[in-house]
């Protein structure tokens, strides 16, 4: 390293130390100390043009950092949530794997308001073995021949051992085609319970408070997390279960349901609107905002295109004139009911 480069390094370090001292006085609200430090910093910058130059870029960046609060009414939360999200996704896969633990600690400890931030990038999603981003579809064949298809916004973890093949559905929708292995049952696990299969084909959707199983072929056994006798679910049945209990199975047209998956369509029969919006939100880059309680009473039967969520929303508005869709940017859409005249 040349002497000039070494000088530049130590000048930059000094500039950084000055800025840290200034900010420390500021955050402690010590006006007298701040005035003294500021005067000394100005003298230091005046002493050598290289000093001022080194400080200038750092000061400009810090000004931008502090300016971020202004737009959100003086609140730093949106900026902080955004930077955390960017810092935890901006790394290459290799680095991300090595640093996942550290990033998790960072995300959790920043105490970003949990409800919103965790909904956008839950740590469990970021660290899942397989995951899809909004609107992305993936197919995987596992070593045992089992095939898994993931719809957008989905994440799964896989744990195979000698006794059992476990797939944990962290979020989203999957279609599983289980390869037969009599010695090792295949189990799909969610917070709401277990679905046990030998060799069969089915779809699983993870909703916020329930798991929905759609059987396409053969039979599985469902065990809600709270316990009780396992329930057998057969081809052509749909079963919704929470951790506490399972609803009654409803009939399902297996070939239409699977065909809709292949054509990237969402088929809903008499379901509450928030569940439909959940499914669309997972397909859509950006944020879809809606009040569950206000929309819970609207029941929907429809076939909606999942690859064009803008059109899907328009179709919903066409069928439910009381709905209102407002777009702030392409990445931020609000759905609510229009105020009564």
């Amino acid at each position: 390293m040349s002497a000039a480069a070494r000088d530049n390094d130590s000048i930059a370090t000094e500039a950084a130390q000055w800025l840290v001292s200034l900010r420390d006085d500021e955050t402690q609200g010590n006006a007298a100390a701040l005035a003294r430090t500021r005067a000394a910093f100005i003298a230091w910058k005046a002493a050598d043009p290289r000093h001022a130059e080194a400080a200038q870029r750092m000061e400009a960046l810090l000004e931008r950092v502090q300016g971020l609060r202004g737009q959100a009414g003086g609140n730093a939360r949106p900026a902080q949530a955004a930077l955390n999200a960017a810092l935890s996704t901006g790394q290459s896969r290799r680095r991300r794997a090595a640093r996942a633990g550290a990033v998790l600690a960072l995300v959790l400890a920043m105490a970003v308001p949990a409800a919103v931030a965790l909904r956008v990038w839950p740590p469990a999603y970021l660290m899942a073995d397989l995951r899809t981003s909004a609107g992305e579809w993936q197919d995987h064949q596992l070593a045992d021949g089992t095939r898994i298809a993931l719809r957008g916004g989905s994440a799964v973890n896989l744990r195979y051992d000698a006794a059992r093949r476990t797939l944990e559905l962290v979020q989203g929708d999957i279609l599983v085609d289980v390869a037969k292995d009599a010695a090792r049952p295949f189990v799909v696990q969610t917070a709401h319970g277990l679905i046990r299969a030998l060799g069969t084909r089915f779809m699983v959707e993870r909703q916020p408070d329930a798991t929905v199983l759609s059987m396409l072929e053969s039979t599985t056994e469902v065990q809600p997390a709270a316990g009780g006798a396992p329930l057998r679910v057969h081809a052509g049945e749909r079963l919704r279960f929470t951790a506490a209990q399972a609803d009654a199975a409803t009939p399902l047209d297996a070939s239409t349901t699977e065909g809709a998956w292949r054509r990237h369509q969402l088929v809903v029969h008499d379901q509450p609107l928030p569940e439909v919006l959940d499914a669309l939100a997972r397909q859509r880059p950006g944020h879809l905002q809606y009040d569950r309680a206000a929309l819970e009473g609207i029941r929907v039967s429809a076939v909606l295109p999942l690859d064009d969520t803008g059109r899907a929303l328009q179709l919903l508005v066409d069928s439910f004139p009381q709905l209102r869709v407002r777009m702030l940017t392409r990445y931020f859409v609000m759905v609510d009911t229009a105020p009564q005249p």
Partner: protein, 168 residues
């Protein structure tokens, strides 16, 4: 015209588009990234000289763009979601689309400057300069000495200085 970039484009554009489509599962996104990949390569012409593995080079460039894109999307989503939550509880708060865009651009610049910084210095930096937490409080949160917090903060500033074009 048979400049190297034309040859590269003619030979590999379709292949790159297919590769991106499989990665993204979205034809429009794939076309955008393929386009940006060639624009970026065009901007650094000398990289084309003696290119032995054009496809590896293309995928590496496209890979970087995909990561940038994922980071940008995560940043936008988190910012807008949080802003929406704030707007719900503070009805007077209604930033214009222009203000929102300006804030997103500032956030992108800052996140690019912080990229690659280890988590603890990054966290100390945001707590101190964005949230205005005193160094003593950050030391307690991170479970380290105030001296160490100072070290993290200086490290973070030097990292940003280097990332924005300095010699630190």
């Amino acid at each position: 015209m048979h400049s190297p970039i034309h040859v590269l484009y003619a030979d590999h554009h379709g292949w790159l588009l297919g590769w991106l489509r499989r990665r993204l599962g979205c034809p429009h996104g794939a076309a955008d990234v393929a386009h940006d990949t060639f624009v970026r390569i065009l901007a650094s012409r000398d990289a084309l000289l003696g290119l032995r593995e054009p496809r590896a080079y293309l995928t590496t460039t496209a890979q970087h763009l995909l990561i940038d894109r994922a980071r940008r999307q995560a940043l936008e989503r988190a910012y807008l979601a949080e802003l929406a939550a704030l707007a719900d509880s503070h009805p007077g708060l209604a930033p214009s689309p222009e203000e929102t865009l300006a804030a997103l651009q500032a956030l992108e610049q800052i996140s690019a400057a912080l990229d690659g910084l280890p988590p603890r210095p990054a966290r100390a930096f945001l707590l101190h300069f964005l949230d205005g937490e005193p160094q003593g409080a950050i030391a307690a949160t991170l479970g380290v000495s105030t001296r160490m917090v100072r070290k993290y903060l200086v490290q973070a500033l030097l990292h940003c200085h280097a990332a924005t074009g300095g010699h630190a």
